[in-house]
Symmetry: C2
Subunit: 491 residues, 2 copies
């Protein structure tokens, strides 16, 4: 059965994306490799002058029997060797020689690595339309900046989660774009809130929705398939792009259980089990080509690789490539040669082994964090939903029960500040939820949903189980629990 083609959405492009011209120089480059042609058209240095003759990397060998965090030993070490000239590379059909990766070119990303990622993407997301594509970026922060430049113009509005990653919001605001917060609960965006917001909308509609739908930052929530379907239907109805920023997608975990004995047995084993346990992405629902998916190695391999990729319909991605040609050009060639070297040696199967290993690690870290929150935080003022994805957990605190709530003029933010500062005093820092609050105007102003009235009495803090070793994590949460108890006169 052949897949449908995407819908024409060029009317959603920004003024900048529309006005970007192709360089006449590009027309000359079609003669670059023509036999018999002496091409004196481009300022490319000779690869002879690249001082790097060979680079290597030591990486672990699948299936990572001792866990993905174990120190590599000689027994499980794979050595990647990339030479300047392809002829010397052992896997010459799959490796990217330095003479190419260290040269200009391939704004879309080197074909070996983007081909690997396309196969991976189709395996995971089974993209339901035909003309999808994938291009490289230097990470999701840059992908998001490029997405804004491609779709919005100063004065436009976009939809964002009520609480969202503050750097992502700053990117928008500095570009003079209005952010409309969409209400959410502990399970993420509320489709009914989005629907009523858009039904009443006056003036030009928002061009896109920005969502970190899996392991949301800051709330740690994971949007259910039912909500994703409802929101996708709204995107079709109201003609907007969904930008799913998904660095945490593969940090999905086993559901939390207090039954410690049953924990070990629950990890997924086969690749099929692993893939089917993942929450379906917006991309996997996208029959029209109106999802822009931002993916990255930052959370699954390493942030400093500065390699991300953008998935979407080819026609729209072409505008991203034109932007990248006159901005980042492409990710680092050293990053590409080494990361591709790793992926080619691991294969699709070994990469899934790695992601399964990551799932086990994060499940364990999450369990330790939630166990500690349950043990050390005062349960009469604190509630929490154990996250099933991402690096973050949140603890919601009833500010109205704080002894000074009246004295604080019933302002929950004052309680938040008091707890934050007491946390620092006790030696543990978690981030106040209000720091992530989206600001923006909608016309007409939104009505607060009944579910959201808790804002007047409740606050939350974002913590992470990602960044610290397990013993420090538990001890830190004990200290933060103590800070809350002190504030509430419970200690």
């Amino acid at each position: 059965m052949s897949k449908p083609q995407s819908k024409d959405l060029k009317h959603l492009l920004s003024q900048e994306a529309v006005s970007r011209n192709n360089s006449p120089l590009k027309s000359a480059f079609r003669y670059f490799k023509q036999p018999g042609m002496t091409f004196l058209g481009g300022g490319l240095p000779l690869a002879d002058y690249f001082p790097f003759d060979k680079i290597t990397a030591d990486v672990p060998t699948p299936g990572f029997a001792n866990g993905i965090g174990a120190q590599i030993t000689d027994a499980d070490k794979t050595v990647i060797e990339i030479y300047k000239r392809a002829a010397k590379n052992k896997e010459e059909n799959k490796d990217i020689e330095l003479a190419r990766s260290l040269q200009y070119g391939f704004t879309e990303g080197q074909p070996e690595i983007t081909d690997f990622l396309k196969t991976h993407t189709d395996m995971i997301h089974k993209v339901p339309y035909a003309d999808w594509d994938l291009i490289a970026s230097v990470g999701n922060t840059e992908s998001w900046d490029a997405t804004l430049r491609t779709f919005v113009t100063r004065g436009d509005s976009i939809l964002v989660e009520e609480y969202s990653f503050s750097s992502a919001l700053e990117t928008v605001q500095a570009q003079g774009v209005n952010t409309i917060p969409v209400q959410m609960d502990e399970y993420g965006l509320i489709p009914e809130a989005l629907s009523s917001l858009l039904d009443q909308w006056v003036g030009p509609k928002p061009k896109l929705l920005y969502t970190i739908c899996t392991g949301q930052n800051p709330t740690g929530s994971c949007l259910s398939i039912e909500r994703r379907k409802a929101i996708y239907a709204l995107a079709v109805k109201h003609d907007f792009i969904i930008v799913e920023d998904e660095p945490y997608y593969f940090l999905q975990m086993e559901p939390y259980t207090t039954d410690k004995a049953s924990r070990g047995g629950k990890h997924v084993h086969s690749h099929e089990e692993f893939i089917s346990a993942l929450v379906p992405s917006f991309l996997s629902l996208d029959v029209e080509g109106r999802v822009i998916r931002l993916d990255s190695f930052s959370k699954v391999l390493a942030p400093g690789l500065r390699f991300g990729w953008i998935v979407g319909q080819a026609t729209l991605l072409e505008r991203f490539v034109r932007l990248h040609e006159v901005s980042i050009q492409c990710p680092s060639g050293v990053t590409q040669s080494l990361t591709n070297g790793l992926l080619q040696r691991w294969g699709q199967s070994g990469y899934l082994d790695w992601l399964i290993g990551l799932r086990a690690e994060y499940t364990h870290k999450r369990d330790v964090a939630i166990d500690a929150v349950a043990q050390y935080f005062p349960q009469d003022v604190v509630t929490f939903v154990p996250p099933v994805a991402g690096m973050f957990f949140t603890t919601t605190i009833d500010a109205s029960k704080h002894p000074k709530f009246k004295e604080f003029g019933e302002d929950p933010l004052k309680v938040e500040t008091a707890i934050y500062e007491q946390g620092i005093k006790q030696g543990c820092l978690m981030i106040p939820g209000s720091w992530f609050k989206s600001e923006g105007k909608s016309d007409p102003p939104q009505k607060e949903l009944p579910e959201n009235s808790s804002h007047k009495t409740h606050i939350f803090f974002r913590g992470t189980y990602a960044a610290v070793p397990l013993d420090a994590l538990e001890h830190g949460l004990e200290k933060f629990g103590k800070a809350i108890k002190i504030e509430y006169g419970l200690e």
Copy 2:
């Protein structure tokens, strides 16, 4: 004698740069390394999960006795080894461990590499004011994009060279910014043309001048110190920023001579000789802090490193850093660890040896190209100025002498197209000069200088001696010479 402080130029910032807020999250990060603090504030993955345990690179050892393009042998090979943990690194005080370079952070660039570049910059440019600084970028294309976002807003005007790098011009135009061409001759920008343009200016003045002043793209010209001084004085008078885009700065060469016997003896030998032979940069004249210098490893090490740096006054660079935090974040950590590893092992002295080697290579390539142009191009219709910097040479052709000039309606561009196509037919591609023509409006419209009246009768082609080996270069130019001769009925 202490250096002066820079002038306050914040009034020249763009709407975007002014409106960019600092993240509240940054205020929390000052507790990141505080002793006794459990920092649960950031979504940083553990370095244990970075799959790269060690990376290495084979590079040549200074002083590059066989030339910088020679194949590395065991005798002159230096092996750089960078481990995940600093304790294993042999030069632990100078190397950047992977646990740091592959992590988030250091938007300004890793301190080891930026410190090296600051020392290098002061050695070469002797920056005449106190509060200058240097930050990393992912190459000059991105640096230029970031510079525009920092200084100009849709509707603003900037000054550009009459012929300029077409990608750089596209970057400007897509941002809705007007480019005012400043007239140039075979020696670059003409200060008198800029002066008269600005003296008659109506309305808000241009905020910056973009110039590729050394080894100009496309003309190959190199701006003299006298013209640089005159232009800097105009920048002070008319209050604009000078952006010097200088990827070719270290591709300065010996003056061309037809006396082949004397060529070998002229190469610079000592570091002092080398530095004093360089044309002074705008940065070296900048007493007020109004120069933004864009530098890069692309032409001196390899483009695929995607590492550039921006030099300017600290107050202005702070706005670039805020932009980079929400766009590129930082250059690839693999690039930084390996390039820094190379620079630390070479040292400032070894790096100068490399640059001196580069000067010798490009001098030789330029000589071969110019010899071939002199030999194969018909001298009665072609003129040229041998370049002293960069990758490009241009040949100016008298279109009015073309047999079909009248038939072409005296349109020199028709002659240009005919020669371009004949070149392709003969098997050599050079780029028509008109492809680099800047477009833009000034009020009042500029008067053409008498020097520039040749536009009505003369065209030029840009070639490069960088990208092809010497034998192909000579043969290619023979073919292009033949193309011109055919067009002019001389063959």
